[in-house]
Amino acid sequence: MASFTEKQAAYGEGAALTKEFFRAKAVMEKAAFASAVFRQLTQEQVDRIVEGVYKAAFNHRVTLAKMAQEETGMGVWQHKTLQHVFATQILHESIKCEKTVGIISRDDNAGLTEIAEPIGPVLAAVTDINPTASILFTALICLKTRNPLIISPHPRALKACAEAARICYQAALEADAPEDCIQCLDESSRQLDHALMTHPALALILVMGRTDLVETSRSSGTPAILSLPGHVPVLIDVSADIPFAVKSIMASKTFDNGMLLAGEQAIVVESQAADAVIQEFKKQHGHVLPPQDLKKVEARLFNSEDGALQPEARGQSAEKLAIFAGITVPAGTRLLLAPQDQPGKGRPLSGVKLAPLIGLYVRKDLDSAISLCLELNSQGSLGRVAGIYANNDKVVATFAQLLNVGYLMVNTPVATGIAGGVFTRLQPAFILSSSPDGKHVVHESISIRQLLAIKRICRRRCNERWQAISGDNYLDERLSADDVAAIYNRNY
């Protein structure tokens, strides 16, 4: 097997020596230097850097939000500001006391000591959905774990990404962070991304909402964590507090005009509660689309070939969506509800919609409602999150057992709750591992823990039961597993 040095030396062999190749090589060289310097810093030095960057980023929370909204033309700047608060203050509160350098835990009784080491340079491919918040978040978790960060910006958010990265990098340098600890590419290019992703010195790829980079990252040979838009079904059980459930869904799905990757995509309700749910949505400025308008919305807001939401419609308000679709909605409408019979191909409204537009399904009973959620869950990225509003623990337990999700949010807004730290006690995180096929190494939110290489020193602590049992018992095939277990567990 080739050593790391040999792999580095061989990097580029057989590859076209394009300008992207040399660019990637130069970027990775700087990142490798930064990585080496970073390793020499103490916990106090690291914490000072993180605090400096958090404060600088927090102080620019409004400017960056306006920049991102203006450049991408999507979302709501006030909501983006709140995302920045989450990605800085709330995150910092949760990590500031965490140990990430040297010995992070020691259990003399068990003879175990854990030592934290950085994993190495991290490449973050940032989406245009929440570009600046993603950068602030990844910058802080990378700095806290002493990993250099390379940012690959989205082509629709180049300026905002560059500014967010500049603010973080400048603050980091002022706090004596290593040179090039944060690098932001000034262009977005598939070839450059590929050249970086295949570089042997790169430790990890974070693909944040970039469905276009799934294959490139997976075939690169570098570990990759994908965080992609997923289909999030939300079940409203008959036992739910309906006004509360509707209020919660409204707030969550309309946040940043429905741009959060883990946002609710479909509401499934039992027929017994359907009328009450629909009336409550209307009361709270939801608009249920009549059949004639559904066709217009499908035809004008979705791509007829792949069924994806048109880029111009992403992250627009409900009233703007109505204008694009050529339909009339009551003034002040905040959310469009699209009644659907079945999900599936050829039904774009049943797919993933990063906009204040949500599918609405009515099923005759709980079993068929859960079955539908299972089907919806398998559309889009798997293994993310689902929601349920219920005051019946048995229903919650059944739902949790059947759905292939990393998190099930109970009586909690999904899009804004899954990030943790506000509506739940989950560790604040902006990256939720997911993939198109449900295959992933980590089935959880990504924060500092996943960016550390934990070494374990294991001291001799013998198992008394193992020592007490005679080896002859294992060699005697007449003894069954139960016989041996009885001897093994004998407590004299």
Partner: protein
Amino acid sequence: MNSKYDESGHTLTFFFTGSLDTLHCRPLEGAIQNAMDAHLAKKTSPLPKPLQVVFDVKDVTFLCSFFFRICLSTAKKTRKGNFRITNASPVTTQLLKIAGMDMFIAAI
């Protein structure tokens, strides 16, 4: 930083001590260049033996990016195989490996 030639006059060794942070590395770059230029100016025969440059990092406690850049630029200026880093402690060896410079470390 100190420097000295070996008896043959073809190996120039630089001895580094303490913390090599950006502040300390900045003047080193010029000093190393001057020493190398002085050697080239001294050459008398038409085909002189190439200059070998050695960085002795025995007493180094901290390395910054600037130092890595000096290593790279020095390696480029000398002919292939004529730049080495010696007396690297295990910690320094690890850092040089991470920085992708372990090919310059002299065999232990």
